[in-house]
Subunit: 178 residues, 2 copies
Amino acid sequence: MPRASLTPAAIVTAARRVADDEGIAELTLRRVARELGTGPASLYRHIADRQQLLHLLADDLATGYPLTRAGRDPLDRVVRQWHAMHDYLAAHPWGARIIADGQYALPSARPIAEHCVDQLAAAGLDRETAVRAYRALWHLLLGHLLNAHPFGHLHGARGDGTDLDRAVRWLVTGAAAT
Amino acid sequence: MPRASLTPAAIVTAARRVADDEGIAELTLRRVARELGTGPASLYRHIADRQQLLHLLADDLATGYPLTRAGRDPLDRVVRQWHAMHDYLAAHPWGARIIADGQYALPSARPIAEHCVDQLAAAGLDRETAVRAYRALWHLLLGHLLNAHPFGHLHGARGDGTDLDRAVRWLVTGAAAT
């Protein structure tokens, strides 16, 4: 493959394919170079290290977040938005882990943040509370995605597909009430 | 060290020391055997594999959860309980990861589950809602512990020590209201 194809976009597409197909642990610069039909040395001219590759991948992931406007009322729109984000991230199991491990802000995540905060404000939260609720909902969502432990299933309430929706609704209802 | 000292309690104590001091990645049967002044072969007579070692460690961790009854009202008691659980797990950074990765129920976690569900019921939730809220609060707590990403800090509401308390209060208030 000619060196001209080593654009950031081509590199991140190849990295995403490796992460989706083989898992994040397999994602090395060497493996991505092989995917692109080139050698590690060529790739190192474009990417400093694995950390930068993960950053590019996280930034690319953030460009694809769904921005939904569906729902019968403001609270329902918030619930559907977070449900859609859950499904999007669940389709890329490496996503939640690199978001949680990433201690940097991603420029491409700004539209989703603003969309979500606006939705929370429309549901009755003042601006600062909306931003705090936005952060709390991320903790909740990442907990859902990263946690395999079946809490509470021995106590008569088995987890199901409505768990996250319910918790988002509770959290936002409580934030609007206090 | 004589073989008589290789009780399950001694093994799990040594494993906990290794995990606290060196991190979970360093926790191997070989490393624990060295900590106990014995060889891996001796340890394998008591522990089948690393998975069993992690299970023992998770079970041991669960015996130590704080059960608090402090607080000025039922909701405040719930908030303080989860705050205490956060602090307990934050002191053992490997804890949240092995809980989240563990797809088994731990017998020693039953007291904490019952205590927390009782507290939620006292705060006005019916039994099934209390169990569901218990699971949602675990997702929230694990999200807090596993997530290093500073969501919302660019939007004027920097995270602080009150984030979890606030989110717990919102979630329980909303669960009681719906």
